[in-house]
Amino acid sequence: MAETNVTARTNTEAALARIAAIEPKINAFTQVTEELALNIADSVDERVARGEDVPLAGMTVGLKDNLNLVGTRTTCASRILENYESIYTATAVERLIEAGAVPVGKCNMDEFAFGSSTETSVYGPTHNPWDTERVPGGSSGGSAAAVAAGMVDAALGSDTGGSIRQPGAFTGTVALKPTYGRVSRYGCAAFASSLDQVGPLARTVEDTARVLNAIAGHDARDATSVPREAEDFTAELGRGAEGLRVAVAVDWLAAEGLDPEVKAGVLAAAEALASAGAEVGEVTLPNIWNGHSAYYIIAPAEASSNLARLDGVRYGVRATNPEDVLDLYVRSRSEGFGPETIRRIVLGTYVLSAGHYDSYYGQAQKARTIVADDFAQVFAGYDIILTPTAPTPAFKLDEKIDDVIAMCSNDIFTVPVNLAGNTALSLPMGLSTGGLPMGLQLIANHFDERTLLRTAAVLEDHYGFVCTPAHASAHASAHPVTEGAPAC
């Protein structure tokens, strides 16, 4: 940044101006924290002036609104937390700020991250910058839309069953779910604790890697965070495809409802990698549907437990004039949660209840094992698996909101990765004939994000995809650390 005239403050001011201009069409944010952003930007500029190493100096970021940051509300896009003030800062956010990034606001999401379209937010739906009649995906739809529309340089989301990757696919952004345990979950409101992982969205693979560099690493405040040496996730970008072993999940490409253009895109990606020197083969991971069912038992079960804490006592909305403490619990929760959240809580309660536990939750935990075994067998012989991220490009607002099976089928290719704990990335592979982005999912073995990003970089060069959504046409990214990257 020192070599340019751009400062953290000027980049932040540009982002805020852009948000002011575009946000009415997109609704990507639940709150824009201008004063906090400018204060952080000024402190970044002071650090740069002092000669400190500030790797993300001035990079503007959006934070999914389930990530705590002191000075902001953390609402989870729910009425029950609409006035909740963060009392501590999430580790991933703290590390991002330490690296010089400037949070400009909190991003819209499906309520408590339950959804694939960002339509269940109490703040209303986020609109896809490529076509505002369509959803941006979910649940991190606000984060993805903000990045795609050039309102921020990057964003953090959380991914329990595809909630970073699927919105990445729908908005033409690069979206990474790190290996479970790679990034601290401390300060990220829990949905399903054994599946949740915080990760980045950006417009380039390199920016994605830079953000991961900042947020990854052990955190004693999260007991599921895995102690590992620090790594530079940009180190293998540019290394090419020579020697990579890439597998196409051919049985997944036979899934019902898969758009032929998306399928063709996955096959073309395999050919491109082969041309670039990778060894490409075909594999099957036959437990995809078992994994999908296991996910829709385990995730609601964990969610029903995690959300029990919201009872109108310690924080959150409290029902008025409760008769007694039971009335307080019941009315606070019934009035505070939206329909999708209630659906997941009640389903989770049912599958955990006496008489149903063994046939649902117990079986789902075993099914999780066979899903993980599928991945382990493939990764014994391959580095990367290629699949679609989502079966189709972005669907229309209201198209699936009343059809629970259609909505949750959107996660079919993403949830197995969360069950197994692997890392995966959605990369834009071009536009459909309808002009909408399509996402390629790359999956790698546990803690092999470097190979994942290396492979994604090869394909990024191949595609030359530039993120230019129609409803964000005045892009002028002033991002100071990605000179040469496509202006999005």
Binding site: G181, D324, V325, A367, T369, A372, C408
Partner: protein, 101 residues
């Protein structure tokens, strides 16, 4: 199997949620649709397969038994709907109704 509205209302109440009749009917329809989708999981032959509770190999993560600072009371109570001193205020406990804690 499919659940009746009464059963759905029961499971909702276990989760301390009460809905009106129309919302219960809609929820029952949705949950039954999901249960049809999930039913096959109970029919899989998974005898001998170990259940998986977690995706990492971490076991018994503990920390040293040393005093650490915790959140100060002013922050702990910052979002409390009602509190007095260092206590959360709640209405009277025990009403004699079903499930009264």
């Amino acid at each position: 199997m499919s659940l009746t509205q009464k059963e759905v209302a029961h499971y909702a109440f276990l989760a301390r949620i009460e809905l009106d009749e129309a919302a219960t009917a809609a929820l029952t329809e949705d949950i039954n649709a999901l249960l049809v989708h999930l039913k096959h999981i109970g029919e899989l032959d998974l005898d001998g397969v170990e259940p998986m509770t977690h995706a990492t190999a971490l076991v018994n993560v503990t920390r040293s038994d040393e005093r650490r600072d915790s959140l100060p009371p002013n922050l702990v109570f910052k979002n409390a709907p009602a509190h007095e001193g260092n206590a959360f205020l709640v209405p009277r406990i025990g009403s004699g109704t079903e499930g009264g804690a």
